[in-house]
Symmetry: C2
């Protein structure tokens, strides 16, 4: 059987199973999540053993150390999976309720019911915990899911898949609702993203290369973000101590995440703050690349940024810094070089804060907060299936709601249109 | 200049103008809608003259009479445009407000702000009033719009465009925010739907051929519905008189609309109702095509339906009728043959009604109401930019909200992530 046919057959069986998940009461979906946690607990050793084999194969093929770190399952990380299942189980049912039912002139009542999308495809790399996060969010929202993890994690993911399927069956749901692709063939991804009418949405999670490939191949809708070129703009009315603390946190809390600040904009009126601001960053080993004015203020602590720096997501201890003329120049810079992910302002001026919220067209816009907060857990979504910088459908960190659609519900009592 | 370059230039100027519309207060957007109505009123005679020329050219080229009817502007239809502008003006501002602001464990507050999509492309046929409906909804929701009407309506649409642009300028908004493509070249449509990154969404309105062509060419998101194969299912617990009245209204109120019932399903337990149900339909000249059982009940009043009938949108005085075994068979039939547009149940049984609402996966699901209610005006949306049967982004009749996106708003007071 070809890879295309294998993926299609798997998708069709998952899609059929999705209808049973969609129509199941939340008590059954929650029971499945609890049973999955129970199975993982009882299969803990087989899971760790499979992961050890994945790790050893990864070492042999010379996988880079960052990827190996993400691949590794420790006791703590398995506990994290169980906790994550419990968090999703505790979230309210996102589907089936009818919202905003209102009476119309004609006498009919019109409202909206939130419903599952159907079958979600997730394409991801390394981290086996994505298998559990994705499966739990999809099941809770009444969807089926097709999981395609990285080849380096296949043994771990297959053990997790068997735990998930056992949990589903224990709760009386079809095991086919969660499928892990048992192939490392790249064609599997291409086949999955072209199954229009069967797969309802695809979420690629991983490096920019993977996401670009999926987006250009796909005929089904893709929920994605390509870059996280996040800005913090220090406004002329910023509290200096707050500005420094936020900039340091946004840049140095973690270097490799998409919500890390990559460019700092500072208003010309408070550019004198630059030396004090640079000190803690330099102490943490951050390399600074500034505009001409920034270089005047920072001297040898800074090198001149090239035009390319303004549109680079470093994912590393490097920061570009630009002195901007005023508020409008900051907003223009973000519109031109930003990636629409997360951008913040530091200011004590209420009207500038409100104006920034409106004028900056990014999936998260912040006032006096670290860009690092742009995250499903921090936003109270429980877990996150991904982050979207597109404007269609879901935007920003995507939890349960982004895995649903709404339909209109009309209640009449024999009403006809005249 | 090539058509591609012309459309791209027009789109870029509209996209630039969209930023000013997006950031304008609702008072300014409302003033523009009022000024547009004023300009149409003062240009009424030029508009009717231009329409007369379109009509005369349409007669010469032998355009079919249904299209000519839709093309014609009468005094009443111009009044309808003015009324529609007033209705959209009276709707609350859909953008800029922050919803659901909640405090998180970390101390930050997180909410969502509704924002415009940016630049919308509308592709439509014949009816010049779509020019006004589309422009008013897009402007009210803070978007710019590129309008590509049918070649047969070009003269009427260009007069309307000049009225709209004069109204925009009178309110201090850029005239470029609403553009009517001054070309009848089909390449103009292909060029528009491939402007990813400039055009944010395209809405094709018209025949299935047009919509299929747009959907297959487009690289930008498309909001669309292809078919309206709407069902009414008469449940065993239906009130017979209500069932007959709803069936007659759903089929005969208008034959050519997408929310017209095309297939009637009747529960085997109440199939004896068929002769009484058929009478008023036959009196109105509706041709009946039934399953074998239906033909037994109706005799010469009915011909045997072919398999193809169950998936045909007649848009004509023809109705397919099927006797279904029970509730589940009705739901299965709708899932298999329906187009996900609008489907209803007639029943006095509350639990069957609730089960139907959940189990049928269509953009509108109805209980004891005519399918003809699936409409933006009837749902209280003011006007409608189109109907979507897709599950991603907007679904069902789409008004202002479907022309917007949401972004996360985070308010802190120096909060950092630890």
């Amino acid at each position: 059987m070809s890879v295309q046919q294998y993926v299609k057959d798997l998708a069709i069986s998952a899609k059929n199973a999705s209808k049973l998940v969609a129509n199941s009461p939340v008590s059954v979906r929650n029971a499945a999540l609890e049973a999955i946690a129970g199975t993982i607990q009882s299969q803990r050793q087989s899971l760790l053993d499979a992961n050890t084999m994945d790790l050893s194969a990864a070492h042999d093929t010379g996988l880079d150390s960052a990827l190996i770190d993400r691949l590794e399952l420790t006791e703590t990380r398995v506990d994290g999976m169980l906790e994550s299942l419990a968090i999703v189980q505790a979230l309210p049912d996102p589907i089936g309720g009818i919202e905003g039912l209102r009476s119309m002139e004609s006498g009919i009542q019109v409202g909206k019911m939130r419903v599952p999308l159907g079958l979600i495809g997730i394409i991801y790399e390394s981290r086996p915990n994505v298998t559990i996060d994705a499966a739990s969010l999809c099941l809770k929202s009444g969807n089926a899911v097709l999981l395609r993890g990285g080849s380096e994690a296949l043994r771990s993911n297959l053990v997790l898949a068997s735990c998930i399927q056992a949990g589903l069956e224990a709760a009386g749901l079809p095991a086919q609702a969660v499928q892990v692709l048992d192939t490392t063939d790249r064609e599997g991804v291409s086949a999955m993203v072209k199954l229009s009418g069967i797969v309802d949405m695809v979420v690629p999670r991983g490096g920019k290369g993977l996401i670009e490939r999926v987006a250009s191949d796909a005929t089904v809708p893709v929920l994605k973000h390509l870059d996280g070129i996040c800005h913090l703009y220090i406004h002329s009315d910023a509290d200096p101590a707050m500005a420094i603390e936020l900039a340091v946190n946004a840049k140095t809390h973690r270097y490799g995440t998409c919500n890390t600040m990559e460019s700092l904009l500072i208003d010309s009126e408070c550019a004198a703050l630059l030396p004090e601001l640079a000190r803690p960053l330099l102490e943490k080993g951050v390399v600074l690349r500034g505009c001409e004015q920034t270089c005047v203020w920072l001297g040898d602590d800074c090198t001149l940024a090239s035009e390319e720096d303004w549109s680079t997501e470093y994912l590393a201890p490097i920061l570009s810094i630009k002195v901007v003329e005023d508020f409008d120049a900051a907003v223009d810079h973000i519109a031109r070089f930003g990636s629409g992910h997360t951008d913040g302002i530091v200011t004590q001026c209420h009207s500038s804060a409100m104006q920034f919220l409106r004028a900056v067209d990014s999936s998260s816009v912040m006032v006096n907060a670290s860009t690092r907060f742009a995250d499903g857990y921090e936003y109270g979504l429980g877990a996150e299936i991904g982050i979207s910088t597109d404007k269609i459908h879901a935007r920003g960190p995507v939890g349960l709601e982004g895995l649903t659609s709404q339909k209109y519900v009309v209640l009449g009592n024999g009403h006809i249109r005249t």
